[in-house]
Symmetry: C2
């Protein structure tokens, strides 16, 4: 269904498509050091919450695989250090912490089993191999989750007309068919005649560079707009639904996503256009009651004042919150791989999460 | 109070600051042919509704001044052709048509007087000189109107905190101290401690390139943001007022302004932030009952997909409505040089226009 692979585990190492260079250049990097993986996440070679989860998983796996630890205690100390390094990359994307927690639990399981078997080099080798398999499993689960999200979400989209999205919640953001774009892909597959309105999503232009590129490659009709056209097109453009991804969803449904999502949600409600969030269960953070507790990453002002290395503004202060929080009351439904949650989300989301 | 002159009538011709090159380069062009003035308006060497009115006035004046017409009828035919050429530059800015109408009326007055005096070369010379004076008068009136708008508007701004604007409704947009930025300048002069939130205003980046530059030159504190941060900062950023300019205001108060203004207005209302429009009376179009009748200029998609000549998106369709319409119900007040109009605008605006 799609050809774009943002990240792959290969015998040579972790191969990532450099999303900063798209669509002008299609460049891949191969990483064999977990510190380089952490830097790639921080520098946005790869981005999108689910893909960051996959990248962190693979980063931990390769870090452990390359470890020269001779003893179990050494390996555990190194594992902890690797996890801490990866945790310091992007604060908002909860999939990152979800992946790290999963690997910590898996490590503990493996460690217990190894302790029973007496430890030693064979046990260390078996932990390494199990963590590599775990990373590949995370990636495979992302792929399957996307397809399920896509199927559930496709039924919510209009049979024809326009659908608006934000940023890139596509294959590039997940390693599967995408969350929001997975919904659109599955709808198109099911015969919906939809055109996608793609806001360019400054400052990084993920909409223009990534979403427009992905959709264009799949032959799905689209129109690119600037971010400040969102209100105008929701008012006049025949938009039947908005579907976006998420970086973190609080227990009550408040959703952190790429900056601009909140404004889009308010404008969608103003025009009675249903606003959907598509995200895997791993993006749920049931530990926090509301969006007030979601940390918002503040990135460099240079990313606002410069574009492709060229200064586009005078030397003035600029702000760069990378995300905003959309209160749950603006969200018609949250589409997960386990089904569609409707308000009240503080009841429906924990139920879905229980599985 | 400010140093920026977007347009000046000089003995050498009409001198325009090329706003497309700011802030990187400060380049002036001197025009002595009205066709070049028309092209400069169309290509956005100069922009902003009031400044377009000044440019059109000077364009007509220089066209007539350079005319080689020997007879009155020849001069009238040429005058009409000049006006038609200028009218085909930017469809949304009503100040353009206001200026053309004003010159047509002035021409008719001068023609009647000349007919009484018998016509002839002396009468043609006197019309030329009178139209040049009229253009300079339009410019002077813009300057005075801005100061009056600024005084009325300053009283509406908070004594401290943040004010948001959109695009550039500054000195560069009017030839005076600006409309929205004139309000901010006069407030700062009156001792208000305000910081301005400046959305960059894609695709032309008038906010980043022009407004940030103007304010920075005047030492007025500002923070540059991307357009999709508007909702986030209205929600969390302590914004006490929004003040924007206008390209055309219908009789009922519906206001066409730079794309993105509508979304900002909806978001301002969501957060109970008063939304003000600052514009001279010449921006009122009492001939149209509502915003539905305002033509919206559709500019080239290349302006969205390219920045400074560099492609920033794949080769996909893009939309570029240059303006949007904000319904009057979102507008707290319209600030003109004759006073502040409050709802119901269909009563208050015609009253102000009568003078």
């Amino acid at each position: 269904m799609h050809t774009v692979e943002p990240i792959q585990w290969t015998p040579d190492g972790i191969v990532m498509l450099d999303q900063r260079r798209l669509p002008g250049e299609v460049i891949h990097h191969t990483y064999t050091d977990y510190r380089d993986v952490a830097k790639a996440i921080k520098d946005m070679v790869i981005r999108g919450a689910p893909a960051i989860g996959v990248a962190a998983s693979m980063g931990i796996a390769i870090g452990v695989e390359k470890s020269r630890a001779k003893t179990f205690d050494e390996l555990r100390a190194e594992f902890t250090f690797i996890c801490d390094t990866l945790a310091r990359t992007r604060p908002t994307a909860v999939d990152l912490f979800w992946a790290i927690d999963r690997f910590k639990r898996r490590f503990d399981e493996l460690a217990s089993a190894a302790a029973i078997s007496g430890g030693g080099p064979a046990a260390i080798a078996s932990i390494k191999s199990a963590l590599v398999k775990e990373a590949q499993k995370v990636h495979q689960e992302r792929r399957e989750a996307d397809v399920r999200i896509g199927r559930f979400g496709a039924e919510l989209l209009p049979r024809s007309g326009r659908v608006m999205t934000q940023c890139n919640a596509g294959a590039l953001a997940t390693g599967g068919i995408g969350t929001a774009l997975g919904v659109i892909r599955m709808a198109v597959d099911a015969g919906h005649h939809v055109e996608v309105l793609v806001p360019e999503t400054r400052p990084y232009l993920q909409g223009a560079r990534l979403t427009a590129w992905e959709l264009h490659q799949d032959g799905i009709p689209l129109t690119l707009i600037t971010d400040n056209m969102v209100g105008h097109f929701l008012k006049t453009g025949g938009v039947g639904a908005v579907v976006v991804g998420a970086d973190r969803i609080a227990r009550n449904g408040d959703t952190a996503n790429k900056i601009g999502t909140y404004g889009m949600a308010v404008l969608a409600r103003e025009h009675d256009v249903p606003f959907y969030v598509a995200a895997p269960i791993s993006t749920l953070d049931l530990s926090i009651p509301s969006g007030d507790d979601i940390p918002i990453e503040e990135r460099s002002a240079d990313e606002v004042t410069h574009l492709a290395g060229v200064r586009i503004a005078p030397d003035v202060p600029a702000a760069h919150p990378a995300f905003d929080v959309t209160p749950a009351r603006f969200i018609a439904a949250i589409i997960t791989e386990r089904g569609v949650a409707r308000p009240p989300f503080d009841e429906t989301l924990p139920n879905l999460a229980k599985g």
